[in-house]
Every structure is written in structure tokens, then in C-alpha cells.
Amino acid sequence: MATIEIDGKSLEVENGTMIIKAADEAGIYIPRFCYHEKLSIAANCRMCMVDIEKAPKPMPACATPVADGMKISTLSERAVEAQKGTMEFLLINHPLDCPICDQGGECPLQDQALGYGKDVSRFTEKKRVVEDKDIGPLIATAMTRCIHCTRCVRFGQEVAGIMEMGGTGRGEHMEITTFLGGSIDSEVSGNMIDLCPVGALTSKPYRYSARSWELQNHDAVSPHDCVGANLHIQTLRNEVKRIVPRDNSAVNECWISDRDRFGYEAVNSPERLTQPMLKSGDHWEVTDWKTAFSKVVQGLQTEINSAGPEGVAALISPLATNEEGYLFQKLLRSMDCDNIDHRLRQVDFLADSQQNLYSGAELPLEKLSTISSVLLVGSNIRKEQPLLGLKLRAASLGGSKIYAINSLDYHFNFKLDGALIVEPSTVPAALAGVALDVSRIVGTDLPEQFSAWAQLGGNRDVYSDIAEVLVADSAESLIILGDSCRQHPHYSVILAISNWIREVCGVKRIDLHEANGVGLTQNGCVPKNSENNALNLVSNPRSAYLLYGLDCVEDSIYGNVLEDSLKKANFVVSFSAFKSESMNHADVVLPITPYTECSGHFTNVEGMTQRSNAAALPRGEARPGWKVLRVLANQLSLSGFDFVDLNDVNSEMENTISEKPFEYPHDIEITLPDKHNGQDSNKLFHRIMDVPIYRVDPLVRRATALQKTADNSIRPIAGLNVEQAREFTLRDGTLMNVVTPEGNGISIQVQADNRVPVNCIYIPAGYIETAPLGVATHLTLEEV
């Protein structure tokens, strides 16, 4: 510890702390531009000059470590003169376009110019002008305003893990730009907008639409992934104008992903549903809530009377809040119906009856950035859960070892110490291979049912590498199961094997969920009887369907089957915030609100439940889902739905959760690999599937700026191994027919993709175009 004095205030701080940090902690203000707590120190803006006793010249507070007995003044004549000098230099080439600059009103340069600038400039020469760059659909540039603090450059290098921004040129001609003028494609690029202390990088979708001082902040939580990033939704006159991060060191620190930031565009889209609607023949009629409810009640009662409660199936989007989920399942169960599920991207439900559906918080997300080793299984974590990707990058920079077992050779923003890229059907086998090596190290026998899988996985050096690393520091090791596991036909096997590894050597496991999957699971949006799982509900047509917040084709990996079942059903009710294709199969459409207009709670993968507040009033006649469900239950004369407000719902939920109704024993019974494995015929290609980052939910699919990014293609593009693409004499963009063994086929653009292993074809889900393929694991490829 060192005792220092800043502006006469005596402080005790750790040795080696930078003065600026000590001052910040003591609440003493030092002006700065380039310094940021989460980034490395650049000391290039020279704004934070302070006066240190006995130092021959003013020193930068951000880069000067404290020393015992140091006497620092931030207000002495010398310090202020230095700060004013820097401000004058910063302002000489900075344009005076604050009135049209989106940063105006929340601009550190503007604020500090008030304190340290002069009202009249001594600079009478011409100002520098820098050409603006087009760096993609998310970030607008005005590079003349740039003060070269390099925060954006350091963010890319250090936090995001891809250096997309850099400085070129010398002196006055130095420019911050992208490599060869390319676009910024990082999934967390929006944070550069927050970091930029001037208006050089601003939000493109928000451009010129409001001023910071007139926006109202609303505390919300992102529904797009299972991290639950904290957000400020900012509104003006009841319209969401933009979303910025809300600091929470336990969850998102000060970052949010682009999906969280720009997903709001959907809520202002013309596709919003603002009136209840009834289908009349083949067209839609606008109606009022009363009529709509009576129609729903009538329809449901007719079907229940004819087919019994079993004839009703309810599917809910994982984007729903806990309250919506709770009320939805309560409504169903009050009608003696267990047919409810939210897992529309899961195929294998065998594990349901055998283990906890949610294994609980094995470690706080915070710890992810200091974990010592990680095994990623079937996960493109960088795009699935961008903020967890950042944490893993931090861990990787700190020296942790990260391995991956994947079907696509994903480009991560951290270094992989070893990667195994195998066809999808071999993923469980590869995990079994790791388990086998774990069993050797630990000295326990591998359970027999895994051995068959382990044999399939073969013998690879990387297994023992992974096993050794996992076992070596098992308390600080982690297995992460990603989206591809969840979509895997042998998900239960992956769960069982990873569970076994976890039990024998004590590593932690995180089973990544979609959006609010954890909250919905905990609140009953899974069937009590595993037979009533989503796949069964979809593939065995029921007479009535309740769809909640779904674009049913894109939001399910068996959307094609669902569509058929909906066509066969007698009565379909869709609760939706948006008009969509799937609306056509419904008889009644009830407009509900997206998360920006609906308060509620989200539970992240760590098990942390956070409240998200409505930021705007509902559009038109749309109403928050929980209110719609409550009134619908009343209309159905169901008891126990007399909630006055959200808190009522909440307190009831809390009591229910504490009973833990979904606790299962976990004796593991394991299916053996089917005969396809290992002996693939030459004609069949393994299908690799994932849901691209900007196709995952109804909101991002309607966020126009996100749809224009490099991470998204408007139409799906299939990827073929580079070598095999050559055999097919493929040119990029060639159309090919892809056919399932059942004969369902689509024609799709195919291009060579260096991430795809041999004998595999990558076809993204989340598109209407690829829905006909369903969950087929093998496909044939024909030239058109």
C-alpha cells in the first residue's frame, strides 16, 4: 500500500495503481479521453496531466503509477495549464459541428471543452478534413471529428479479439481506419460507439433521430441470449430510439453485443401487429379484444370438448419473460393439459426424464474470464453468446487453455489450443473419446454404454490433451455445451457423457440455453411428461395449437413439420408481436408486445433472475403478454388468475420455483449410436446445421441494420468443403439441389467454405428457405 495525497486528500492505494484510478476511486475528477478502465493504457491524449510534487513537468495520470508519499494536484496552475493546452490542441482540428453531431450532449470532448477550452480559438489556419469511411451498416463515421485516442483500436485488439480498426499515416495525417477500408464485422462492434469519446463513430440506425438529453432511460435486460446483458432502453415520446449498455460487472461489464444493441429496430418496424385479427375465409379482419377473446374461448372449448385437453398443444418462444411463460403453462395446466414446450430447436428429449433440465449455476459467469481451461462442445460461442465469447477471450489472454469439438471450424476471437472438427454425428463420439482418456487418468472405468461411443470416436492425441487439461485443474475447468449440442440428435448422449466427466473429475459444466430458456424451464414451460415434448407435439398433429411469440417456420428446426400440423389443426391461436408467414395458419391472432413494451423477468444461464422494465407503451391495441394470458384465463373461467399486477404473478412464481417441480433422478440410460455412424455412404453428405447469429429470433430477423451485416445473408448460403467443392466444379453462388432421404429438397446457393470438414454440407437453419430440410442429418447433393 502507498499513501498518496491528491488535492490535499490523503489516500491509501495499492502500489502500482495508476493515479487516475486512485483518483476515480476517491471521486476526484481528472479529465481524460484515451483512458478507459477496461482497455490498456495508451497515454496518448495527454488530457489527464496532473502536477506531481518534485516532478519536473506535468505527468499523465493514466500512466503514472503511484509512489508512497506522492503529492498530486489536479487543480494546480501547472496541471490546469497543461490540461488547457491539450484541449486547445484537440480543438484546433476538431470541427465545430456539435449541433448536427449525434454525440452532442453526451460528448466528453464537448463537456471538457466547457471546462478547459476557450471561447475563442487562436487557430486561424484551415482545419483538417478527413474522408468518412463506410464501415458497415451499424456504425456511422465522421472521421474529421476523430481525436485519435485509439480506444476503438484497442477495443478491437484487446476485447473483441479482431483488430478491425487501426491507425495509418503519420502526424496530422494519421487516420483511424479499417484494414483496406473494409467493414467492421465484429459481433460486438457497437461498443466502439460507446467508447468513442467524440462523434467520430456513432450509431447508424440511430443517426440524427434524437438528442441524448431528451431520451428517457429504462432499465431492461436483453432477451436475445442466455447472458441477460443489462441494457438501458432509451425512448423519446414513447418510441425506442436506441439501446445502450447498463454496467453490471457480474454479467456484461460495460459491453453489449450488437444483437442487444440494434435488435430494437424490429419493435419500430411496420411488421408490428397492433390489432387483434380474425381469419375470415382467406383474408384477415381487424377486430377488438373482446371479440377475439370470445373467438379463442369458443374455439378452444370446442376442441377440448371434442379431442379432450390432450388435443391442445402450446409452443412458446424462448424469448418470452418468466411471467409470460409461467402464466402460459398455468393456463394450459389449469385445463389439464401438459402439452407445453419452448424447446423448438431440440430433437432429442431422452434426457428429460433422467436428469435436471437445468443443472443450476455451476459457476458465476464472471468467473468465465479467469477460468483455467475450457472445452467447447458443439458451440460457436462467439456468435451464439457474444458476451461469453468476450469472457473466454479474456480468459485465453490470461493463459487459459481452450479446446473445441465442433462440426464447423469456427473462427473464434480467442486462440484454440486444440480443435477437433468432425462430422456432426461424431461429436458425441469425440466427447466419449475424451471421457475415455479422463477415465484412464482418473483411474475409473468408463461406463459400458459410453464405450461403444468411445470406440467410434477412435483414438486421437487431442483427446488425451483435453483430458489432461480438464483433470489437471478440474475445479477451474469448464465444459461448455453449445447450440449445436442442443440441436443434436444425440443430445442426451452428449449430456450424459459430459455429466459423467463432470462427476468423476469435478469439472464444471455450462449448458448454454437459447434466450430465456432457463427461466422458461424453471417456470414450467416444459412438459412434465417427457412424451409431450416439442417434437412430439409438432409431429403428431393436434387439433388445436397455441403459438406464443413464434415465427413457427424460422423459430423451430422442424418448422416444416410444424407447418404441416398447423394446416391440419382445426384451431390455431397465435400470440405474436409481428405479422409473419406463420400467421396464415392461425385462426386468431392476438397482438402481444416485445420486451421493450413488456415488463418481466429473465433468468440467465447462471440462474440469475433480472427484471426488465417496459420502456414504451404498447403499440396500438397490442398488450403485454402476461396481461393477455391473464384475461384469456379469466375468459376461460379458470381460477387462480386474479392477478392485479406483475408483482402478484411474481410472488406466486417464486413460491412455485422453490418447490422445484422438475427435479429428476439422474440415472443415465443411454442410446447406442445408430447404424449411420461411421459407415457413411459416399453419396450422402452429413448435414451441419446452426442458426446464424442474426436469424435466431423474431426480433433480430426484423432488425434491418443487423440483417445487412456480414454475419447475415438475406438468403441462406450452403457451405461445402473446399476440396469437394472443387470436385463438384462449384463456383461460389452456384445453385444446387439438396435432397433429404425422404425426398424433400430445396435448391440453394452453395459455396466453398473452409470451415466445413470433408463429406459434410453446412446449411443454416432459421430461414424459411431451408425449412423443408427439417432435421435431416444426411443429404444428397445434385447439380441443378
Binding site: 496531466m49 493546452g85 503519420r170 502526424g171
Partner: protein, 421 residues
């Protein structure tokens, strides 16, 4: 007065850049002796300290002390880097040292590397110096073939590998940390210190960076002893120094003379002021040090302390001589333009200030100046000086301050006259 050649080869030597010629003057004796005797590094440092050798790159930091700062016994790779990115206007001494005497530099680097426990050295040579680079490469080949560089030298445990690296034309890469960045393949921008290169240098490892002339001075010191070297010069400024004399003299060129030589004698050595002209001003250490009017410099001896007391600096020993025909406004305009063009753009005062300085001076020379501009210039220079990461800011500020101090009347006359160019 005649020259005393330590770093430059004796003028009677044929092809002095060859190994044979260098060895004929006692070259590599010191290095061989160190390898065979495994001289303790402490002794070498003592010897260097007693020689009074100070950094010849401009700052004048005692070389022995600098080498002693290295965590010599710390595990891991360490580096010795030679700064031959000589770009200061008026300086051309390193060019002749590398061109004419490359082996002495190699030997100096090897000894310095041995002293600090570095087994790898880099010589960062200015990009425009093609011929010196080629000579240095040839000398490296010779030295490797003679078994003086490489692994297990002379059957000992000592190893030393030396590589040369060419710059790409940026003045800032002569700043030691910017040089390291450039050496690592990054944009040449100075790093903030601390940490100093002795803790975190090239590739994140402890590194010592020395000027070409300093390193070249090491072999003769090792051969003949620190005292011999110290006695060549004066107190606190030991040894000889290569002065690059340029400007309005009859015989511009490199002159290696003992430190402490009166300026008058150096001027005579360079053939005196060109025909019939009077000495007006001298910049004694390269364009970045303060200018000195004739009267001041004539009273000075050429060593670190004397020039410092007179309000300037020895710098890199590049003496720019100006006679009475020189327009000081034009001179300052040219100097300011150099710093404007060469600022790396990293920190604010230098990036923005150098351009402003140049533009104001340019305006004055074009007859559009105002008298208030002169105070503005001084004020700006004061706000750049000492506020930047590296010394380029100071280098840009000092000429302005000194020109304003000694030649303000010329600027005023220029502003007030309507005949301004």
C-alpha cells in the same frame, strides 16, 4: 588540431570495412579475449563507467550505467539493439561508421550483448542507408564465417547472433521505443515509459538500445582501457566524438575530435566559413537542439556540459553552420516542416501542435504574419514541450523557442516589411 579517430577508421587504411583491415588494427581482440577469458560482465561495465562514455545518440546518458540497468541474470531472452536509424537533420556520422567501420560496430554490439546477457542483437539501420546496410551485411557474413558470431564461439558457451533490419523512412523510428515497435513489425510509435526497454523491450523482453557510435566506441575502450578513453576528452565528457559539420563551411564532413575541443578549432578543421562570409548562428547538435548565435558558440567548447550551460545541447553532434546570408525565418520554417511531417501522430500536442507551428511560420514567411503570432508561437511551443510521450515534441518546440529568443527581430522585420517573400 587534427582528428583523433576512435570510431572512424584511420584514413590511411585501404578498404577499412573488410575484416582483414579491421583485424590489422587490433579489431576483435577484445571480443576474443572476452570469450576466451569469460570476463565477468561487471568488469566490462566498470571499464565502461570509467571511460566516461556517454550515449552518442543525443541524450548523453552514461553507457556503462545504461548497461548495468539490465536484469542481466533474469531468465529468458534478452536483446541488444543498435539504433542506426540516424534521421536527425544534419546528422550523418553513423552512416560513415557503418560504411567504413562495420566490424567495430559488430564487435561493440557483441561485447555489449555479452555484458547484458543477450544472445541476439539487432541493428536497425535507416531505410535510406542502402550502401551502409550492404556493407554491414557483408561484414556480418565475414564475421559469421570467421566464427566471431554464431553459436558456441571459439568453443565456449558464448553465443551471439546479430541481424540487421532496415527502417522504412520514419524519423520517429529513431526514438528507441518506436524503433522497437517498428522492429516488431508494428506502426512506429513510441511507447509510454515506464516500463523502460530494460524491463519490457523488444518482443516484451528486456532490451538495451544504444547508438551506433556508442557501441562502436566499446571495442577500443576494452582494448585500451577506460582511462585512455576518458583522458582523450574532458571531465564528464570522455573520449572522442564524431561531429557532422554541415552548412556554410568550406569542407563539410565528419570530423572525429576529442570532446572539449573549442568550437573555433572545429570550425577551422572544417575549413572555416565559406568565402568572405561571417558566422551568424550554429545549431550544435542536430535540428532539434536550440540554436546559438555566433558570439555564444565561439565561446564554447564542444562537450556535453559546456553546451548545456550555454543553453543548447551536444545532441548527436551535428553541427549546422549558418552564415549571415541565412534567413532565420526560412530556416525555422524548414525545421518546423520537418517535425510537422515526421510527428508520428500518437499524442495530441505533437500531432496537432507541429502542424500549427509550421503553418504559422509559413504564413509569416509568406507575408501574412501578425505580430501577435510570435507570442502565439512561443506559447504553443511551451505547450508542446514536455507534454508528449517521446522527445519529438520537445525537439519541435526547442528550435521555435530558441529562434524566438535570439532572432525575434528578424521575424518582426519580416512581418512588418511588405517585401516578404
Amino acid at each position: 588540431m587534427t582528428e583523433v579517430r576512435v570510431c572512424l577508421p584511420e584514413s590511411n587504411l585501404e578498404e577499412p570495412w573488410t575484416l582483414a583491415a579491421y583485424e590489422s588494427t587490433g579489431g576483435y581482440q577484445a571480443w576474443r579475449k572476452i570469450i576466451t577469458e569469460q570476463t565477468p560482465p561487471e568488469d566490462i561495465i566498470e571499464n565502461l563507467k570509467s571511460s566516461g562514455l556517454r550515449g552518442r545518440g543525443g541524450a548523453g546518458f552514461p553507457t556503462g550505467l545504461k548497461l548495468s540497468f539490465m536484469p542481466r541474470n533474469a531468465p529468458g531472452q534478452k536483446y541488444i539493439v543498435c539504433n542506426s536509424d540516424e534521421s536527425e537533420p544534419g546528422t550523418f556520422k553513423d552512416r560513415d561508421i557503418i560504411r567504413l567501420n562495420p566490424h567495430q560496430l559488430i564487435e561493440g554490439m557483441a561485447i555489449a550483448g555479452y555484458t547484458i546477457g543477450a544472445t541476439v542483437g539487432y541493428n536497425y539501420i535507416r531505410g535510406e542507408y542502402y550502401e551502409p546496410w550492404a556493407r554491414f551485411e557483408a561484414a556480418l557474413t565475414e564475421a559469421y564465417e570467421a566464427g566471431l558470431l554464431g553459436h558456441s564461439l571459439l568453443n565456449s558457451d558464448t553465443s551471439f547472433d546479430l541481424y540487421s533490419q532496415r527502417g522504412a523512412g520514419a524519423y520517429i523510428c529513431g526514438e528507441e521505443t518506436a524503433l522497437l515497435e517498428s522492429l516488431e513489425g508494428k506502426k512506429g510509435q513510441p511507447r509510454f515509459k515506464p516500463p523502460f526497454p530494460a524491463q519490457v523491450g523488444a518482443f516484451g523482453r528486456p532490451t538495451t538500445i544504444n547508438n551506433t557510435e556508442s557501441l562502436s566506441s566499446i571495442p577500443p575502450i576494452m582494448r585500451k582501457g577506460g582511462k585512455w578513453f576518458a583522458d582523450l576528452g574532458v571531465e564528464k565528457s570522455g573520449g572522442t566524438k564524431v561531429f557532422s559539420v554541415s552548412g556554410h563551411v568550406n569542407k563539410p564532413g565528419n570530423y572525429e575530435v576529442p570532446l572539449g575541443l573549442p568550437f573555433k578549432e572545429l570550425l577551422e578543421l572544417a575549413g572555416g566559413i565559406r568565402n568572405g562570409h561571417q558566422l551568424k548562428a550554429v545549431i550544435p547538435g542536430g535540428s532539434s537542439v536550440p540554436v546559438m548565435p555566433a558570439a555564444n558558440i565561439m565561446a564554447c567548447t564542444m562537450d556535453y556540459d559546456s553546451l548545456q550551460q550555454a543553453g543548447s545541447a551536444l545532441g548527436a553532434g551535428s553541427v549546422i553552420i549558418m552564415d549571415e546570408t541565412t534567413c532565420m525565418v526560412k530556416m525555422l520554417e524548414r525545421i518546423s516542416y520537418f517535425y510537422y511531417a515526421e510527428s508520428c501522430g500518437q499524442c495530441t500536442p505533437c500531432r496537432e501542435g507541429t502542424g500549427w507551428l509550421y503553418r504559422v511560420i509559413h504564413r509569416i514567411r509568406n507575408g501574412q504574419g501578425k505580430l501577435t503570432d510570435l507570442d502565439l508561437l512561443v506559447d504553443m511551443a511551451n505547450r508542446i514541450e514536455g507534454r508528449t510521450i517521446c522527445a519529438l515534441g520537445d525537439a519541435a518546440a526547442w528550435p521555435v523557442q530558441s529562434f524566438m529568443k535570439h532572432y525575434r527581430h528578424e521575424f518582426e522585420a519580416m512581418i512588418q516589411s511588405d517585401k516578404a517573400a
